[in-house]
């Protein structure tokens, strides 16, 4: 589907957390791609590993996590395993990040103008007054009312929605080509969520930036993403265009997930329910991680882990139900 080389390419990524009790594999052989100007949604429930994926790309894995395999390429250049100094230059300039909690993303002791200017001047060589003008433009772009008067205010003087807009401005201040947004709307009220998604989409389009949108909310994905990757227990279950994955979910987990979301448009007697719960990373079953909960599990599923195969154009799934799919499976030793 993507004809030019992808902006971000993650191949066979493996992230481990060595603990005293043994090594936890938080991400196991995950491959993703994001093209230029594309919004990829990474969706999954808590513990699926979606946040860790974002953290790995930007080099902010929490201690003691480390990348134990695979590679991450930004514009063809490998960025996993770079020394901290090189990573620091990438952060902000080529990859921006938006975190979940706008309260802690902004330093409460500095004015927002100061924080914006600091980011701008770190990555772009501008004089202080030019940087300040640029900061003002960004604030207007994200829709802060009376930006000129309020830009010297402190974060606590703004509401949650406004703060998240400021964080978006910060993320895009140095014109990164990729923005990683980790649950950008979860901490906000429903009516504010819509505003923030609109701002994010508009800005990324205007700045020609791609987005890795990490969330557990399928509704946000439906609204904002072009493609979606569904993660389960640190592995990829399904990837494809948003409309395809939502309307024609191939993986039994995705299918169950769609069914269990109550819909505004119709009232059902009983929601589809997937029995059990996602296994803890310390207790992963053999074979396919989903098989204990899968209504269509076969013997094969209990023994071997399914590879990622093509179910339709651009639509990939990791499930033994598709063993004899037409298109070849992705190379695993990439």
């Amino acid at each position: 589907m993507v004809h030019q080389p992808p902006l971000l390419e993650i191949r066979n990524l493996r992230v481990e957390f060595p603990t005293r009790r043994g090594t936890l594999v938080a991400i196991d052989d995950v491959s993703l791609q994001i093209g230029e100007g594309e919004v990829l949604g990474v969706v999954g429930e808590s513990g699926a590993g979606k946040s860790i994926t974002g953290a790995a790309v930007i080099g902010l894995l929490p201690e003691p996590g480390r990348i134990a395999g695979g590679e991450i390429r930004l514009n063809g250049r490998r960025i996993d395993g770079l020394p901290e100094e090189a990573l620091r230059r990438i952060r902000g300039k080529e990859v921006g990040a938006i975190f979940q909690d706008p309260l802690t993303s902004l330093n409460p002791l500095y004015s927002i103008a100061a924080q914006l200017v600091e980011t701008i001047r770190t990555h772009l060589d501008l004089r202080p007054q030019d940087a300040r003008r640029r900061a003002l433009d960004l604030l207007k772009e994200v829709g802060i009312p009376a930006a000129e008067d309020r830009m010297d205010g402190y974060p606590h003087e703004f509401s949650g929605g406004m703060r998240q807009r400021i964080v978006i401005a910060l993320a895009l201040a140095a014109h990164p080509k990729l923005v990683i947004a980790d649950e950008p709307t979860t901490a906000l009220d429903v009516s504010i969520q819509a505003q923030i998604i609109a701002v994010l989409k508009r800005l990324c389009r205007d700045h020609h930036a791609s987005v890795m949108l990490i969330t557990h909310d399928m509704g946000v994905i439906a609204e904002a993403a072009d493609r979606v990757a569904v993660m389960y227990a640190g592995r990829l279950a399904e990837t494809g265009p948003v409309a395809d994955v939502i309307r024609r979910a191939q993986h039994p987990y995705t299918h169950g997930l769609m069914g269990s979301i109550p819909q505004l448009t119709a009232r059902t007697d009983r929601l589809v329910q997937i029995e059990g719960a996602m296994p803890r990373l310390t207790e992963l079953p053999a074979g396919c991680a989903f098989h204990p909960r899968c209504p269509r599990a076969m013997d094969r599923c209990r023994a071997d882990r399914p590879p990622v195969v093509s179910a339709a154009t651009g639509h990939q799934v990791a499930c033994w139900l598709f063993e004899d799919a037409a298109a070849p499976a992705e190379r695993r030793d990439g």
Partner: protein, 333 residues
């Protein structure tokens, strides 16, 4: 549907005094500040049904539930339970039989169970408090086992500690504890907001099953309209401490009248329409300490007129419910 409601709330007000300390007020000549968390709410919940209160954070819906249960006192208003007035919190606290029949399920599955207690003790606490299980330990043990089974856990789970369970399982334990008192009425404060979607489905299904099995009446507090639609018989929409619309059945979704309700529905993303841009709601939710005059929603309302700025609308009947809106009552929308 026409028989007496199980719970009737009339004119419920709950104000919090958030004034500066007396000395500061004296020196700086500040006035008293009141946070009007709930500002005159009235509704009825019919027996065996689910009444939902929806609204965004800060609208007062949780406070309403806590006032009904007696966790907060009421600044003003009356409360009737099963035909009997229970407005006075103190007397309600003294009336064990009344207290037993009103229970609550909380939002945070991690803070709602004492981490130092075994599950058995947690679920048995209401049993012991209301002497449901007789005095013998064997009786209590068996009852705890039954309760755990009815929420989809096993009796063996009684010997474990809360931290050994996932969020969804902890909510089940919370439900078992609420059921232990054999209540008629359970207030559910965002019971699934902290849970993953697939677990949410399990818990919601469980709650529906239990409602049928034990003839429970629910007051469901939620900000998630889709969940509310799935669970409710009647829905009340709150904004800044007031009820703006109350509708029965599906009417709220098929025929929303209040401008806030309409906008709220539009901001919910739908899986059915991919890529649709929601119409974002303009403006921010104002602070409940200094709410706008007249109709609280008027600064964000597209149908505002002079009367809206000065006079608070009251709930008036519309098909299948009530709406508090001048524009609706004047026939403008």
């Amino acid at each position: 549907m026409m028989d007496a409601p199980l719970v009737a709330v009339t004119g419920l007000k709950r104000y919090f005094d958030v004034s500066a300390p007396w000395l500061s007020r004296l020196l700086e000549r500040k006035s008293r500040r009141l946070l009007k968390a709930v500002d005159g709410v009235s509704f009825r919940v019919a027996r065996g049904q689910t009444f939902s209160l929806v609204g965004e954070s800060g609208c007062g819906k949780s406070t309403v539930a806590k006032c009904i249960l007696g966790l907060h006192g009421m600044t003003e208003g009356t409360l009737t339970f099963d035909g009997r007035e229970i407005t006075d919190t103190a007397s309600r606290a003294a009336m064990a039989p009344i207290r037993r029949r009103l229970q609550m399920i909380f939002q945070d599955p991690y803070a709602s169970l004492n981490p130092r207690w075994k599950v058995r003790s947690i679920v048995a606490e209401p049993l012991r408090a209301f002497r449901q299980g007789g005095q013998s330990g064997g009786g209590v043990r068996a009852q705890v086992g039954d309760l755990l089974r009815s929420v989809g856990l096993t009796p063996a789970d009684a010997d474990r500690y809360p931290h050994e369970f996932s969020g969804g399982q902890r909510q089940r334990i919370s439900i078992a504890r609420a059921l232990a008192a054999r209540p008629d009425f359970i207030a559910c404060d965002e019971p699934t907001s902290a849970l993953d979607v697939s677990v949410q489905a399990q818990i919601l299904n469980l709650m529906r099953d239990l409602q049928r099995e034990f003839q429970l009446t629910y007051l469901l507090i939620s900000h998630n309209l889709a969940v509310v639609r799935h669970m409710s018989d009647s829905i009340g929409v709150m904004y800044l401490g007031r009820l703006v619309e109350v509708r029965h059945g599906d009417a709220l979704f098929t025929d929303p009248r209040h401008p806030y309700t309409q906008m709220l529905l539009h901001t919910i993303p739908s899986l059915d329409v991919i890529g649709q841009q929601r119409t974002p709601l303009a403006g921010e939710v104002p602070s409940p300490i200094n709410p706008p005059t007249g109709c609280h929603f008027h600064p964000r309302c597209p149908h505002v007129n002079a009367r809206c700025r000065e006079e608070s609308p009251v709930l008036r009947a519309v098909p299948a419910g009530e709406v508090a809106c001048h524009a609706v009552q004047e026939g403008r929308i």
